[in-house]
Subunit: 533 residues, 2 copies
């Protein structure tokens, strides 16, 4: 095919992809390969429908589909290929992304090359200095040809596993490795191209902030490669490993942009984000999510409302007020959260003063007339139903920013609102049975909601909780609480509708780099106090 | 304040802002200014609450608030400062952004420096060559000191107007000018800093694609500066104007990143996006929206379902089937859309062949054995209610990708579902009156929805319609149709609930660079055909 014609065809293609501004003006420099006139993205796009809005359980593509959403062929499969030096937060990103996508009901799996390497016995092929692990820094020396070949082999083997898994019904596979050279990435791309229905998103993590790097390195030393090693020696080895990677590291740049690759660069935990040629609905969602992450030390408190009069009658839904007991809980919660807020502030100041002392030790010309750091905001969010609004009625609006948000409302039970489960069983035996058999997908009759509907409704809140750096108390309802906790604690989807989340229990979530810490406080009615479990 | 301490304080600040990775390691090089230790962003942030999730009419911050949402102080005000050479699509971006934000119920206004310049009489101060306008290219020569000062003055005057408007209750002001030097942007920042509750988002538009540039320039020549000029002369003048701007143009780069500015760069209509230090909820939403725009020629068809049996009885809501008449409409719609799909394809091929001919004229070695460009996908989306599903029942699923989506459902009327308006007036006279007095904010009792609730629910669909490049038919309901049309046609919010959108009428939206073209087709029942109005 002539270059000119290819150019022309590309135009049509570009127009289809919305990247009307994408046509590079240097096609003359590109290889004119008869057999591969387009990039794999183009071909895979052209062949496939269902490239748009795709929300498992929310969007149905069969007429009159039942509560079970379509599984399998909905949407193209996505291969996320990680790129980045060691200790740049790749695992943090892959873990978060996997958790989020799984929570949104996409089958997602991480394929970690490092784990494969550790599982592969290669002692025979490697000349390690005595006393080191079988994967000491010399294994990562770009001049160590034998090791290099083995690393390449492992990366591709890992990719094959990923592709197999996608073919068997997976939806999103994440290739977690350094993938630090253009050659490697090209190889990966070519392999994935062979599966025409797969799309590729490269995610490169870059960290130029020394403090974050040091923290990441510290985390790494408690990991599997170093667990039985002397800390000093481990640190030394790991630094050398990074240095070996750095020798050969090529960041994603212009050359790969000309290949029209779809990529996203995250610099310093989302402080700066570069996105290129983002096309599909799924890729867009991934990037919007990753853009919003932060590592600030904060607390997310979450609880159900105090007991309502409907609770005392065993009725679901509705919009009843608090019972006497519920009001007592509300009063105690108000004091408890105020105390927790003050405690957090106290710790913040202590930390500040400690750091100040450290600074003073180091520098003599330090005056201490400076203001203290400001206190973190404390938000209080409830649903728009009476029982949650009444629960926070006594919060001091000068200290807490109280808001009522519709998407924190309880699952809407449609025709079953204000009924007891017994009534539902008697009046709607088929609905009762359908709900029992699949609580996750079951949708209440009469415009009611399913768990999946609620997940989708709560999604912007999850993004917002990831984005913000304030402390917060969320007062909501059973189903919403389950769904929020499921996200943070990575609960398997089948278990979500069965999580035990009693009334008058407050959960405290602390997002950390390695996961979310969960604490649980239970209200003791007699003592009128909260006790940590 | 010592640098060290500033550093320490910045740490605390950075932590608060979630930009833990943001601390630059070269604070030594920064000026140590006692009076301005922090950037304005920091101070304005520290003083203000309501920095998070903020959706007018959806989030309420007063206990037991009525249907009217809180107005005025909800959330910090945002100043969007545009950056970019002429003809780089700044006005396209500002127009779209204003339309979207206004539709989401944020008071948004564009302040265009070019318009202010045209309204300001400066003939006396300017030495123009005879026959040119008062704003010919020489006005934009960076060596023309007098004109330069005047341009600076106009830009700042425009900014003052913007700030005044924000103080009087506006929410988001967009400063639409080239703002092409660091000096100018620093001045703008310093001015905005004086208002402690304002946040700043810079949006730079860059276009390196020559075809897009030429199109933009052509659009510009039909604009106010050139309307009475000879086209050749106009083009010549405008090119010289751009050249003058280019001499002094400084893209947003490292220097401003060290100042921690919040910015977003859009390169070639979103093909590549760079976002830096994005903090607030609103800024995040703006950027996610802008990331998803495209300029592909496509058609969005949208209609209500065919007449339902509830329609014939005058009942709202519910989930009834189509009437006989509704089914007749559905059959005709199926044929009509199929015809439109084929027509679009035919035009696409004609255009392709024409371009091919052009190419052939220019190049002799052109073989014509290449495949034709692939046909655009055609999606069909309905709500999950019977009357829309039945309307598309006969669409051939081999040609159309049919999906049913819950968020296209009609506004949920809660306790008033399946009632006639007369019944509502009789049974719920207060509700009836409340709805009449403010249809936009009115929310139906019994977990019902308001127009604003529906806007929020439809928001992801709008983003998806902007993102995708397929053709589509949306079959939905009266309120959702009004809301989607209001977005594309920029209908004032007070008018949205009163738009006339009869049954059996199909709208065709064609997004263009300058706005959306709207065509209307009406079904003639007797002829059983659609006629364009």
């Amino acid at each position: 095919m002539s270059l000119l014609k290819q150019n022309l065809f590309n135009d049509c293609y570009n127009e289809i992809n919305g990247s009307i501004g994408s046509k590079s003006n240097d096609t003359e420099n590109k290889p004119n390969n008869e057999t591969e006139p387009f990039s794999p993205y183009q071909l895979s796009y052209l062949k496939h429908h269902r490239y748009s809005l795709d929300l498992p359980g929310i969007v149905q593509s069969k007429l009159g589909a039942g509560p079970q959403p379509q599984v399998g062929d909905a949407g193209p499969k996505l291969v996320v290929v990680m790129v980045g030096l060691p200790a740049r937060g790749k695992s943090y990103i892959t873990k978060k992304l996997k958790r989020y996508l799984t929570w949104l009901q996409y089958e997602t799996k991480v394929f970690n090359v490092g784990n494969l390497r550790r599982h592969t016995s290669i002692n025979n092929n490697n000349n390690n200095p005595p006393g080191s692990t079988s994967h000491s820094f010399s294994f990562f020396d770009p001049h160590n040809e034998q090791a290099k070949q083995l690393r390449e082999h492992l990366a591709m083997e890992c990719l094959d596993e990923l592709i197999d898994w996608l073919k068997k019904g997976g939806r999103i596979g994440i290739h977690d490795a350094t993938n630090s050279s253009i050659t490697r990435r090209t190889r990966i791309m070519k392999r994935i191209q062979r599966e025409s229905s797969f799309k590729i998103l490269f995610i490169e993590s870059i960290c130029t902030d020394k403090r974050v790097l040091e923290k990441n390195i510290a985390l790494k030393l408690s990991g599997p490669d170093y667990k039985n090693m002397d800390p000093e020696e481990a640190l030394n080895d790991f630094r050398k490993r990074i240095a070996n990677y750095e020798k050969a590291y090529e960041t994603i740049g212009e050359q790969e942009e000309l290949e029209n690759i779809q990529y996203c660069k995250l610099i310093n935990v989302g402080k700066k984000v570069i996105a290129h040629n983002i096309q599909g609905f799924l890729s867009g969602q991934c990037i919007f999510y990753l853009m919003n992450l932060n590592l600030v030390d904060r607390r997310i408190w979450i609880t159900r409302h105090g007991e309502s009069t409907d609770n005392t009658l065993g009725r679901i839904g509705g919009d009843s007020s608090l019972s006497e007991r519920g009001r007592k809980f509300a009063a105690c919660l108000t004091k408890f959260i105020k105390m927790q807020k003050d405690l957090f502030r106290q710790k913040q100041l202590e930390k500040y003063r400690e750091e100040l002392k450290e600074e003073k030790k180091r520098y003599l010309n330090f005056s201490s007339s400076e203001p203290e750091p400001p206190e973190r905001n404390f938000l209080v969010w409830t649903s728009m139903l009476k029982r949650t609004i009444e629960t926070v009625e006594k919060f001091d609006s000068k200290e807490f920013d109280v808001m009522h948000i519709r998407f924190l409302n309880e699952i809407y039970a449609g025709a079953c609102e204000e009924m007891t489960y017994q009534q539902i069983e008697e009046e709607y035996p088929e609905e009762y049975a359908a709900r029992k058999s699949n609580k996750l997908y079951y949708r209440y009759p009469g415009m009611g909601e399913s768990y999946l509907d609620v997940i989708h409704r709560v999604n912007p809140l999850i993004i917002e909780l990831e984005r913000m750096t304030d402390n917060i108390l969320i007062v909501t309802h059973r189903v919403v609480l389950r769904i929020v906790l499921a996200y943070f604690s990575d609960v398997e989807k089948e278990k979500v509708p069965h999580m035990d989340v009693p009334l008058h229990t407050v959960y405290c979530l602390q997002p950390k780099a390695y996961g979310t810490e969960l604490l649980k406080w239970v209200w003791d009615e007699n003592e009128d106090m909260f006790f940590q479990e």
